[in-house]
Symmetry: C2
Subunit: 352 residues, 2 copies
């Protein structure tokens, strides 16, 4: 077996001729210890290769400085971007990131039950639904939960989302302004709050403006499903002239199908619009019009929430972050975009 022997504070204490308490204080900023004994201890520690055991420290503090992060489908570049930013932001905040897989389905994985008992400072769920039993379990384990890109009715959990209502309305207005006649919607995962909000707002706005109800297909926030959905739409005799996909991943699948399987000139013969504004959307190969979800801000808000919840687990709140409609070549251009820009930001970025 592997019996590792570690250097402990006692070893350092013996080497430096002090007590173990002194060693502890030497590594605690602001502790009551004289500068020169601290220096002596740090020297000895360095020589022995000592570092405080964070597990033992957490055991005493009752706080691990670890944040659990559950992520479902990393196929979506939006979450890759988020993970990238989140890992950096947590690191800067002195927090560790414990990653665990959470099937993209409605609820999280079994392993979360174990993870909860690491005395996590917080649990972040990236686009993963929170079942009521899990919510209850987190409450019992006294682990504050932050939903990222999801909301829930559960009152005790916090959330950070983009403004799906305004986003979907803005896209609807954009498509109407482009004089599109047959609009379609490719939906995300049924039961996800993002899809529910986007779909409801999109349909409601179109109805309110007197437009006919759009076609609708399920894309499950998945490339293969969105590819199939697009094929179904484009095979119809009354082929749509505009498709709003509930996220960019599906929109890119739709572009691929429209362009390479049906030979359509995307942006002229058919408009395709996505949601998230992932980095790939700006690539000339796609030039995808999309409503942005600002990952940096959403991550910043998430970390802010975590720091608050760490000290006061009851200070839950729901944060909504503004986005911007990024107009690019995949949707028919309009003379004066600001004409319908009454509620949100609109930008026509240069290609990278």
């Amino acid at each position: 077996m592997n019996d590792r022997i570690f250097v402990t504070a006692h070893d350092v204490a013996r080497a430096a001729g002090v007590s173990q308490s002194a060693v502890s204080r030497a590594f605690t900023p602001g502790a009551s210890i004289s500068p020169d004994t601290r220096a002596r201890i740090l020297t000895a520690a360095d020589q022995l290769g000592y570092r405080p055991n964070l597990l033992a420290r957490s055991l005493i503090n009752g706080r691990s400085n670890i944040v659990g992060v559950g992520v479902g489908n990393l196929a979506n570049p939006f979450f890759v971007e988020t993970m990238q930013l989140l890992s950096r932001a947590l690191d800067d905040a002195g927090l560790r990131l414990l990653l665990f897989p959470a099937d993209s389905g409605a609820t999280a994985e079994p392993s979360i039950h174990e993870i909860l008992h690491y005395r996590l400072d917080a649990l972040v769920l990236l686009s993963v639904g929170l079942s009521s039993t899990l919510a209850e379990e987190c409450r019992r384990a006294q682990v504050p939960v932050v939903l990222y890109n999801r909301t829930t009715l559960d009152d005790a959990t916090s959330s950070v989302i983009g403004d799906n209502q305004i986003g979907a309305r803005t896209i609807a207005a954009h498509l109407l302004a482009g004089r599109h006649q047959r609009i379609a919607y490719i939906a995300g995962t049924a039961g996800s709050s993002t899809n529910a909000q986007r779909e409801a707002a999109f349909f409601a706005y179109l109805a309110q403006q007197g437009a006919p109800a759009p076609l609708r297909e399920d894309g499950h926030y998945d490339i293969a499903a969105a590819t199939a959905a697009t094929r179904r739409l484009l095979t119809r005799p009354d082929r749509p002239d505009a498709i709003f996909c509930a996220n960019d991943l599906m929109a890119i699948a739709a572009i691929n199908v429209a362009r390479h399987e049906y030979g359509l000139d995307v942006g002229r013969e058919i408009s395709i619009v996505g949601y998230d504004d992932v980095p790939m959307a700006a690539w000339p190969a796609f030039s995808l019009t999309s409503y942005s979800q600002p990952a940096e801000q959403m991550v910043a808000q998430t970390v802010r929430l975590i720091r608050i919840l760490r000290d006061d687990p009851d200070a839950h709140q729901d944060v909504i972050v503004d986005g911007t409609l990024m107009l690019r070549g995949s949707s028919r251009s309009v003379a004066n975009p600001s004409a319908y820009a009454t509620t949100t930001n609109i930008a026509t970025p240069r290609p990278d």
Copy 2:
């Protein structure tokens, strides 16, 4: 302040009328305890909402069941795929994944110094170089290191890589078989072992076959740098008719530039070949010929190594995994691919 009160084994013991030891045993598979007292304890534990504190358990075992994973640039889909598989595989193995950012530069981040002292079962570095000081530090902390997609001369660390020599040679042979006259190479990060091996093998094979030395530009495994590098190549009077990019991310950038900025018909007027065979390479928008690195196998090997190293930290080894040349539309096709397929696998997959 936030003073969380947790249910401990003592509380359960009191409730169930047994000793704390019994509670511990009730949660230890195979421990010496009668079935009915175990049942009684589990009932009481469930009622109180008790779960063993993993931090305390780790403190005793001297083993945390946590694997540290350092990742640099998640912009490369190959690492996204890897992370996806790795998080799942570690979870299945009962191991936790502590993620930390490691700047894509040659060495890892400062926070790693702290992380090392979580008594990690292992440290995995995804395409991150291992500085000799860090290697030494890991040795002192008695944390076994597994390099993923990197090698090092350090004898005490393990590694899992694809076969860069064969891959680069196969690509060189493929381009020569396609009668390409002016071949170029866009290099990855200088100093990375992947680039070093691919570049050396590519250049060596071409020279050995009597072909002129290829043009060479730096792409740093980065989209922006590769975009600029491609522009430099395509602006030359003696524009190359084939480019081998040291990974797919750069190859896709090269395709974007060639097609959208220079109006070239990729696959006919110019061949572009990548490395990694990321999922995106199969998209019709790119249809990128690429040498695969089988992430599933590489991850499986990584987890296998971790399990071995957990019990015997000295059992380090270097694993090389076979790949396959995936022939797609971005490179000029050849009548008989197997003519030059003397050393490796070659496939002509259908588009997804």
